[in-house]
Symmetry: C2
């Protein structure tokens, strides 16, 4: 039996489904999944409002969940897909986890980790971005538009 090889777009779409759940829960719509060996081992969306906890970003919850799943705190063989560029807190957490691969959709020119001139991520973490960027970005814009109404 052969297994299908899923694309980055496929997995980002799964992260987008999580972001959509955040949107419906009136949270800033960011979603993340962790993939190991072509399987999704963790799913999460931003829960800062529901949990009243600034650390409850999608990436942080996904990271903790993935570590629990594999029973190991390092995620060297895992990829994290997230709809928005990680902030400094999340990027630093991904460094501690020695994440193998980071894929994000929309860039965050305000709070994204790239806004500081310092290599926040682990040097071995592969990075890819811009996957389904229009969809990831539009969901966020739509959320903030609805808030200004």
């Amino acid at each position: 039996m052969t297994y299908p090889i899923f694309s980055d777009e496929y997995f980002m779409n799964e992260a987008l489904k999580e972001a959509q759940k955040a949107y419906e829960a009136d949270e800033v719509p960011v979603g993340a999944i962790v993939v190991s060996d072509q399987r999704i081992i963790a799913r999460a969306y931003n829960m800062t409002e529901k949990l009243g906890d600034v650390t409850a970003h999608a990436e942080m919850i996904a990271l903790t969940s993935a570590s629990n799943y594999i029973g190991f705190k390092y995620l060297v063989d895992c990829a994290l897909y997230v709809t928005l560029e990680p902030c400094l807190m999340c990027a630093a957490a991904l460094k501690w986890a020695q994440l193998g691969r980071l894929v994000f959709g929309a860039s965050d020119d305000k709070a994204g980790y790239h806004t500081i001139e310092y290599p926040v991520l682990h040097p071995k973490t592969e990075i890819k971005f811009g996957i389904l960027e229009p969809e990831c970005s539009e969901l966020l814009k739509d959320f903030f538009r609805s808030k200004r109404r």
Copy 2:
């Protein structure tokens, strides 16, 4: 009735008690407490090994616990006492929380937030450090010495 006003040394000693618990649990010995209106509202120590989770630093657990206690995600009127200078992840989390005051014991020239030239903490967070530095530092040195034996 008047309440006693506790000193920074008093509260750092309470954080040290948490660090000691980490030591006894074979974790890198870092402890933290959160204080609001002269009362300790959260206590935590590093649990990265026990939980198999790189995000389980003392500060992160204390922050989440304090937010749960006050029912609000911002800690503008709180002080966090931690035995070791926060790393980038924790400092960025404290920024999100708009922490009122940060007091730490030992500096961390390897992974502390001051090692990058960027104002990681919130601009309104007051900072004090070096409180019970010898005790905070010695506990860490003792831990790493025992690991090299």
